[in-house]
């Protein structure tokens, strides 16, 4: 459905956070230098090896040049109802602002490919120079993106490309979080916390959505390869973020002796938490992906969620804007850029928060982590 897929929530619950996470007002543009260079597990759409986002840079001179163009950009999202999207939009707006690029529209396709096609048509009426977009579906949105490209719009894809579009020609680049890395991180936390053996369940996203699919696939692969004594005994799908509790309850009813549970992203994981609490399974180990406020709080306070894999949406947004800038001044851009995944546990939850959101964690989490 129109529900959530890949990522989610977090804490920008205090407005002060907002300011700190914006990049400086002047100087060259890069991503947060504190992010470490890690090997990117995922591969690009054409099998390309990923280029690290850290290698990108726009100098002050380049920025000045972009500013002269008075360019217009449209942000065409698949969905905007989660933190993954909001953080990216925030970063895109802030970075474009520094580049003198005007954001003329932000759309939300509600996970509907047909709505995204309409959205693209609609924003084209405003004649943008740049479109940054997470395509809902690589097959059915291809025509609309092709139309945009043919109209001379520079397209920067996020997390996936539309079919039949040529890198460097029809689109500038594709920027992706390391979804596989996210799944792997969650698997590693699971393995460590269970001491390498036990029975676990997997709650996956039952939809043809590659972002979530890569995560659960990599989770299972990592468990099998690295922790052969951990058995995945139960598997169940959800179709939306509100299904977590029902599905987890059902699973815990059927398999009373589960030791661990992987839930595809943090929002349904919160539902699984409620289910575990009611079932009295306080020793269950839950891992997931995406660092939302509620799971962050749970990790910090040593609760049922022991850790997760997180991506870096804010810096991803900065990267996307930079790549658009590359295209505006004709600078050669790598066609596949990825930001690494971060493994978050109780030990590093506060630093991770700073890394992910470029700001201090909310007080509730700080208090809980003490």
């Amino acid at each position: 459905g129109k529900q959530d897929a890949n990522s989610s929530a977090n804490g920008k619950s205090e407005t002060s956070d907002l300011k700190t996470q914006e990049s400086p007002k002047s100087g060259p543009i890069t991503i947060n230098p504190k992010i470490e260079d890690k090997e990117i597990l995922g591969k690009g759409p054409y099998g390309e090896k990923a280029v690290s986002a850290k290698t990108l840079k726009l100098t002050e001179a380049e920025i000045a040049k972009i500013k002269k163009g008075n360019y217009k950009a449209a942000i065409v999202m698949h969905y905007t109802g989660n933190d993954y999207s909001t953080a990216q939009i925030r970063a895109l707006k802030a970075t474009f602002k520094r580049m003198g690029v005007k954001v003329i529209a932000v759309t939300d396709a509600q996970f509907k490919a047909e709505k995204q096609v309409s959205d693209i048509e609609t924003v084209l009426a405003k004649k943008p120079d740049i479109i940054v977009s997470v395509p809902v579906d690589r097959v059915s949105t291809a025509g609309a993106f092709k139309k945009a490209a043919d109209a001379g719009v520079k397209v920067v894809f996020v997390d996936g490309v539309a079919n039949d579009l040529k890198p460097g020609k029809d689109y500038v680049s594709v920027v992706s979080g390391d979804n596989s890395g996210n799944g792997a991180a969650a698997a590693e936390v699971m393995g460590e916390k269970l001491g390498g053996k036990g029975k676990i369940g997997v709650i996956y996203h039952d939809a043809d959505f590659f972002v979530t699919k890569q995560r659960s696939d990599e989770f299972e692969k990592t468990i099998k390869e690295k922790y052969p004594k951990i058995k995945i005994v139960a598997r169940a799908g959800i179709s939306g973020p509100n299904d977590g509790e029902k599905v987890a309850s059902g699973m815990l009813t059927k398999y009373r002796d589960l030791d661990g549970l992987f839930v595809i992203w943090d929002v349904p994981a919160e539902g699984a938490l409620a289910a575990a609490r009611t079932a009295g399974k306080d020793n269950l180990v839950v891992t997931t992906t995406d660092l939302g406020t509620n799971v962050g709080l749970e990790i910090a306070s040593g609760g049922i969620v022991k850790g997760l894999g997180a991506q870096l949406p804010y810096d991803q947004g900065v990267t996307e804007a930079m790549l658009a800038g590359y295209a505006m001044i004709g600078k050669k851009a790598p066609t596949y850029v990825a930001a690494p995944a971060v493994k978050v546990t109780k030990d590093n939850v506060l630093e991770s928060w700073r890394l992910v959101y470029g700001a201090d964690a909310p007080d509730v989490i700080k208090d809980a982590a003490k």
């Binding site: 459905g1 529900q3 959530d4 929530a9 977090n10 804490g11 920008k12 619950s13 905007t80 109802g81 989660n82 933190d83 909001t86 039952d206 939809a207 139960a234 169940a236 799908g237 959800i238 179709s239 939306g240 973020p241 509100n242 509790e245 029902k246 599905v247 309850s249 059902g250 699973m251 009813t253 059927k254 009373r256 929002v267 919160e270 539902g271 409620a274 289910a275 609490r277 009611t278 079932a279 939302g292 406020t293 509620n294 709080l297 509730v364």
Partner: protein, 327 residues
């Protein structure tokens, strides 16, 4: 005037079954059928364990509570599509109130207040401007959903107030989930209101024939205003329960619940055309949907299979329930 007739209608004869039509009883048969089926086929999977049955009660609490309120709205021949998004907004206002230090009571007031305001606006627009409730509440659904997204920019708000979380969602009294207690309280109160008070009678009369009701002195506009306040209040409370259960407020709570709520009401035997309503039927309708969801998940089916079979069961259960009724 002389003594009322001692021809004791309804006393000498067995009480007529005809008070409401067959649809009110179908759901009982259908529900029992579904329960028996799952109990047998999923016996080994723990479907019949007390824990699991209580889980069903927990999972359906919000739908049931909104459903009993919706029974009144639908009984007047109107509809309220805004309950789902109101739930979300109420969960957030409650969480924000608690986060800002107003405590459990503050959260309660904020959540219920949110619901009441939405209900009030709905009710006023429908009765004063005479706009079809479908359009008013559809518009309201968008407005409220937008507000819920906007108020924290889609971020969830954690609730660190264990009294609140216990009382409004996560707690158990003995082994009875607090959510079940709330559900039963709401159902009993609503049942009495609909069946035993003049407000209930006037609600049904308004839906049965609005102009005849008005000729009979029923303030139909006031009744309509009240029933929309009712769904608003119930949606606000459901938002509080979601918040208490999940220890957070979030804009996605209750997403799409309007359809489940209306489905529970119709399944229970209330007529979309108004004039006929049953609170108990709604409760059973809600429990039945919840039981089907739960059973199919325990069966371990894919989401697509769950959807197909759930649809089939709803249709078949109603068709067979009807047949059973006839015999």
């Amino acid at each position: 005037m002389n003594a009322p007739g001692q021809v004791a209608f309804g006393k000498s004869k067995p009480r007529p079954v005809q008070k409401l039509d067959w649809r009110n009883y179908i759901v009982y048969f259908a529900f029992i059928g579904v329960l028996i089926y799952f109990s047998i086929s999923l016996f080994d999977d723990g479907f019949v364990s007390t824990d699991n049955l209580l889980n069903i009660a927990r999972q359906t609490a919000m739908i049931s509570i909104m459903g009993v309120a919706m029974t009144f709205v639908i009984s007047t021949g109107e509809i309220d599509l805004s309950v789902g998004s109101t739930t979300a907004l109420a969960s957030l206002t409650a969480a924000l109130a608690i986060q800002s230090g107003f405590g459990m009571l503050g959260g309660l007031v904020a959540g219920l207040g949110t619901g009441l305001i939405v209900g009030l606006i709905n009710g006023l627009l429908i009765t004063r401007f005479v706009i079809p409730s479908f359009l008013v509440t559809l518009g309201m659904m968008g407005i409220v959903k937008g507000m819920a997204m906007w108020v924290t920019d889609t971020a969830p708000v954690p609730i660190i107030n264990s009294a609140f979380n216990f009382l409004f969602g996560s707690g158990d009294i003995g082994s009875v989930p607090i959510l079940l207690v709330w559900t039963l309280l709401a159902t009993v109160a609503a049942h009495i209101l609909l069946r035993k008070t003049s407000f209930g009678r006037q609600t049904l009369a308004t839906g049965g024939n609005e102009s005849a009701a008005r000729f009979s002195g029923v303030k139909t506009h006031r009744i309509k205003l009240m029933v929309f306040l009712g769904t608003g209040l119930a949606a606000g409370f459901a938002g509080i329960l979601y918040a208490g259960r999940m220890h957070a407020g979030r804009y996605t709570f209750g997403d799409g619940d309007e359809l489940s709520v209306i489905a529970a009401v119709i399944l229970g035997g209330t007529s979309l055309f108004g004039g006929v309503g049953t609170v108990i039927g709604t409760l059973i309708g809600s429990l039945m949907i919840g039981t089907i969801n739960n059973g199919l998940i325990i069966m371990g089916l894919d989401v697509s299979q769950q959807m197909m079979i759930k649809g089939l069961i709803i249709i078949l259960a109603v068709a067979f329930g009807k047949k059973a009724m006839k015999n």
